[in-house]
């Protein structure tokens, strides 16, 4: 079981909960190669709320996202999305749920997640066509979302390879939002982008949150989540070791890994005193 449970903030009533994960275990591999990726993780995200999930490579943060989308099966625990218990869903039910566009996922590398043979516009329109919406109406909606993401309309006729990294990431976000999802999972959406594009993506995240979408923002960098998230959950070796408001976690981290994260995040405050502290925390974690 986890040491920490991430409960919703006090003023959020239960009916606004969009995602509720309880005691989630995920295993990879079979028999002797079976390894536990997630160990009793609990997380709740309400409409209009942004929750940051922080962890190092291999901590299980992407596995959490994949489990919520039904891409990896849960070995224990419960996942409830928009009031529906999806834990025991079969392949068909998952497909139906994904097609409705209630849950959307933006991957880290849009060059690999966007179909290279579809133009940006076709990629954005596709989820709407799957829902049975007419092409003309789908196009109108795609254009609206493209402008909201500051994508000029002529860019929609280009293939992903003909777009810059920032433009591609915005196309991926537009594709995710066009179905009016109630839950969006962003997996390192800004880490591969330079500062100007990163600011733009983070601005979009803020707008989404204001529009009432529940957001899960996955990153290895506490700093990039700090500016946009309301609460953060810290994953370490498959367990949720710390959770709370951004301010509390940053100013008063409890777990040694969280303390190391806070001391490692680059800030404009120069401090060589942090170096000895970091060394001590690393020794503690490696022990």
């Amino acid at each position: 079981m986890t040491a920490v449970e991430l409960a919703g903030v006090a003023d959020v009533s239960a009916d606004r909960t969009v995602l509720e994960v309880t005691g989630l275990d995920v295993h990879y591999g079979l028999r002797r190669r079976r390894r536990q990726a997630l160990d009793g993780v609990s997380l709740r995200v309400a409409a209009g709320e942004t929750v940051g999930v922080i962890g190092e490579t291999g901590s299980g943060k992407s596995t959490l996202a994949r489990a919520v989308l039904g891409l990896v099966p849960a070995s224990a625990g419960r996942i409830v999305v928009g009031g529906e218990d999806v834990t025991r869903y079969g392949r068909r039910q998952w497909r139906a749920l994904r097609r409705r566009g209630v849950v959307q996922y933006v991957f880290q590398d849009p060059l690999r997640s966007l179909d290279p043979d579809l133009t940006a516009g076709e990629s954005v329109v596709e989820p709407l066509l799957l829902q049975g919406i007419s092409r003309s109406e789908a196009l109108v909606r795609a254009r609206t979302y493209a402008s909201r993401l500051h994508l000029e309309h002529d860019l929609l006729d280009r293939l992903p390879a003909q777009l810059s990294g920032g433009q591609r990431q915005r196309v991926a976000v537009a594709r995710a939002l066009v179905t009016d999802p109630s839950l969006v999972i962003l997996d390192e959406p800004a880490s591969a982008l330079d500062s100007a594009n990163r600011v733009q993506v983070l601005e979009i995240v803020k707008d989404l949150c204001a529009a009432g979408v529940a957001l899960v923002f996955i990153s290895h960098d506490l700093g990039s989540v700090a500016g946009v998230a309301d609460r953060v959950a810290v994953l370490y070796q498959g367990q949720l070791v710390e959770a709370g408001s951004v301010k509390d976690v940053i100013t008063d981290p409890q777990h040694p890994y969280t303390r190391l994260l806070v001391r490692s995040a680059p800030t404009l405050r120069t401090g060589s005193a942090d170096r000895t502290e970091r060394a001590a925390l690393r020794a503690l974690l490696n022990a």
Binding site: E56, D194, L202, A226, I250, L261, P266, T267, T270
Partner: protein
């Protein structure tokens, strides 16, 4: 990393400086690396890409270069290492490595200078290691060639170097292949190889960009300890102002080939004069950890 032909180097020395290099003074007074009005031009298009970069770096000091992709920071570093891409040339100013004008160096001299005077680590460490040779022997080879020592001594020295970059169980790492190591461990292996021949200057070009934040801090701490212990002069290149702020005495902010701001780190961070620097600072204040920290300070 094939050195340019002797012909092109000779040509360049004539077109750029046209004067005989000064005889190097005593090593203690000479800056480890000095750039004067460095200009880099694409010979094919005739377009100047870097418009005058200048700084002086003494032993044990750290200079940082910040800028977005395409700002010319990497080309400036490559010029100092004598590894500019084909048809991209140093067309103005001068670069001195430990008092020697690099324009006067022959390919053979360059080979001697690289590794023992100036060395570098880059982003994506895996691509600089041979995947089919264990990592230890690749460091030992550098020691053997540069230090002219026997195989056994080179091996012992390589293990020492792996220890010096804080790799746990260095003997085990010595016998591992690149695919068995994480990104942070690989970057340490490359730093070990880079400092194997005791260089005066180490250039770290986006060396921590692809790493997790905690690993990035570990590598930056390692560089800082090398700089303090071994008196290494460091050039730290990053697109992130905060990374540079952790380590550097002096910062250059580059944009579109131009140095738009240059000065002591605290001056650049707390009293930025150029709009672009202000933008970089504002980004941290609005979206980074600094936003939360500032709010805490205020309350």
């Amino acid at each position: 990393m094939t050195p340019p032909s002797e012909h092109s180097v000779l040509e360049r020395s004539e077109t750029t400086t046209g004067e005989t290099p000064p005889t190097p003074p005593a090593p203690s007074e000479v800056p480890a690396l000095s750039l004067r009005d460095v200009r880099i031009t694409n010979r094919v298009t005739g377009e100047e890409i870097v418009h005058g970069v200048a700084f002086e770096l003494s032993r044990g000091r750290v200079v940082g270069i910040v800028g977005e992709s395409g700002s010319g920071k990497t080309l400036t570093c490559r010029a100092a290492l004598g590894i500019l891409p084909p048809r991209i040339e140093l067309t103005g100013g001068s670069i001195h490595l430990a008092g020697t004008d690099i324009a006067t160096l022959t390919p053979r001299e360059w080979t001697a200078v690289r590794g023992s005077t100036v060395s570098a680590v880059f982003q994506d460490p895996a691509s600089y290691l041979n995947p089919s040779i264990k990592v230890g022997p690749q460091i030992a080879e550098v020691v053997r060639v540069k230090k002219r020592v026997g195989r056994r001594e080179a091996r012992d020295r390589a293990v020492e170097l792996l220890q010096a970059v804080h790799l746990r169980r260095p003997e085990v790492v010595y016998g591992q292949y690149a695919y068995e190591l994480s990104g942070g461990m690989l970057q340490r292996v490359l730093i070990a190889a880079a400092i194997a021949a005791d260089p005066q200057v180490l250039i770290a070009d986006e060396a921590t960009t692809a790493l997790d934040v905690t690993v990035q801090a570990e590598i930056l701490d390692l560089l800082a300890s090398l700089q303090e212990r071994a008196g290494l002069a460091l050039v730290v290149v990053s697109h992130d102002l905060a990374v540079v702020a952790q380590l550097c005495d002096e910062v250059l902010v580059m944009r579109e080939g131009q140095v738009v701001e240059q000065g002591p780190t605290s001056e650049v961070l707390y009293h930025p004069r150029h709009d672009y620097t202000r933008l970089l600072v504002a980004e941290h204040e609005q979206y980074g950890l600094d936003k939360v920290l500032a709010r805490v300070d205020a309350s």
